[in-house]
């Protein structure tokens, strides 16, 4: 959640009272400045988390200070992806190729630059790309959870922001200690409407749109307290949908091509629409980032923000 004023003071501070007021004030002022700057530069949400929060959720080797020695704070920014108009289109290809302007990456560089140049502390953009198979060096979604920007959902474990729903996140790791945002206490998912639908039919809208027991990716249960009780997510099937054309389909296609002995059949495969689109997706990666939104399309969270004229 982004609150422009009234950030929480660092916990466990042990300064002298005279020094405490000015150091805490400086830290709070810096948080306010970074938030204002990032929002003005085009992101929708900004959050701050202490690096220690990762200890509980991430094995050694993948924590903020494993990537930046001495890291104290993680700054996280989030931005909407496809335009509201793209969500309306009956052509699913349009939403996958529309509106993703990498503002989160661009702005996190502004944040990191500012921390280093204006405040004199080390700051880096947290690495986002996969480094081995699907595994990233640093999870932006976990960073969003730990900085109070959202909570996990049934839908592919996507982190939902209470106001905007699906957002794309980037993070900056820094040795600068800053007051942190609290993690959200109230789960964003399931929404009240989804609880009702679940009680009526046994599936939430996202599970109904992409049911794992019917060729899809999702399943889960809601407990008597109306919270997520269990989740199931078939990531590998999701990859075939969310990365329909790209590195994965290119490799799959190339395998089939290489194994084909008949040169004529091979030529058909090489020039096929499937392989052409796979090669095109690698080339035009900036246009085609995520390629399946069906679980998010039916999600009520953030829909109000997409209701325009």
């Amino acid at each position: 959640m982004t609150i422009l004023a009234g950030t929480q003071a660092p916990s466990g501070a042990t300064f002298d009272s005279g020094v405490a007021a000015s150091e805490a004030d400086t830290a709070a002022a810096r948080v306010a400045e970074l938030r204002t700057m990032a929002l003005a530069a085009g992101v929708d949400v900004v959050g701050f988390a202490p690096a220690e929060r990762w200890d509980e959720f991430v094995p050694a080797g993948s924590r903020p200070y494993d990537i930046l020695p001495g890291a104290r704070t993680v700054v996280v920014v989030g931005v909407r992806g496809p335009s509201a108009g793209a969500w309306q289109s009956p052509d699913h290809r349009l939403i996958e190729m529309n509106g993703y302007d990498f503002a989160n990456d661009r702005v996190i560089h502004l944040v990191a630059d500012h921390i280093e140049q204006a405040y004199g502390y080390q700051a880096i953009q947290a690495p986002g790309l996969p480094i081995g198979g699907h595994q990233p060096a640093f999870s932006m979604m976990l960073a969003a959870v730990l900085s109070g920007l959202g909570t996990r959902s049934f839908a592919a474990n996507i982190v939902l922001n209470p106001k905007y729903g699906l957002l794309y996140y980037s993070a900056c790791l820094t040795t600068l200690e800053l007051p942190a945002d609290a993690m959200l206490e109230q789960d964003v998912c399931p929404a009240p409407m989804c609880v009702q639908v679940y009680k009526a039919g046994g599936k939430t809208p996202c599970q109904a749109a992409c049911p794992s027991d019917d060729g899809g990716c999702l399943h889960g249960t809601i407990g008597p307290d109306n919270r997520i009780e269990s989740t199931y997510y078939d990531r590998e099937r999701c990859v075939s949908r969310a990365m329909n054309f790209g590195i994965n389909s290119f490799q799959k296609g190339l395998e089939q091509i290489a194994n084909e002995d008949d040169p004529e059949a091979r030529r058909m495969m090489i020039h096929s629409d499937f392989f052409t689109r796979s090669a095109s997706a690698i080339a035009f990666y900036k246009e085609s980032v995520a390629q399946c939104f069906e679980c998010m399309r039916v999600c009520p969270i953030g829909r109000a923000e997409r209701k325009l004229k």
Binding site: S62, V197, S230, Y233
Partner: protein, 114 residues
């Protein structure tokens, strides 16, 4: 020597175990769930320690196994799924997905009562 790729025999021997411990299938991922219930999967290093393999070997096995998990047919099916779901939503909204489950539940309740 060429570039490194995993030995096929090693791959087939450990593929299922590596996948089971990885994040290919994610069960009870949300952070709010009690730790004893969560199954977030393990890192390559953790898997390597459990299986007595090198981390690099585990990474290669996992990468190939992830890619091999579904055949290329699944990529074609993905196109049909999205086309159907997107057009269905444009026509009928959320009900396109949820109506059949709600109707099924109502019918089941009605047959129990009957």
């Amino acid at each position: 020597m060429g570039f490194y790729f995993v030995d096929t025999e090693l791959y087939h021997r450990h593929k299922e175990a590596v996948l089971a411990m990885s994040q290919a299938i994610q069960i009870n991922y949300p952070e709010h769930l009690p730790p004893e219930k969560r199954q977030p999967g393990f890192s390559d290093r953790q898997i390597a320690e459990k299986l007595g393999l090198e981390e690099r070997v585990v990474r290669e096995i996992r990468c190939v196994a992830e890619r091999e998990f579904y055949p290329v047919d699944e990529w074609e099916r993905a196109l049909e799924f999205k086309d159907r779901a997107c057009k269905g939503f444009a026509e009928n909204g959320v009900a396109f997905s949820t109506k059949k489950y709600i109707d099924r539940a109502k019918a089941a309740k009605a047959s129990i009562k009957g």
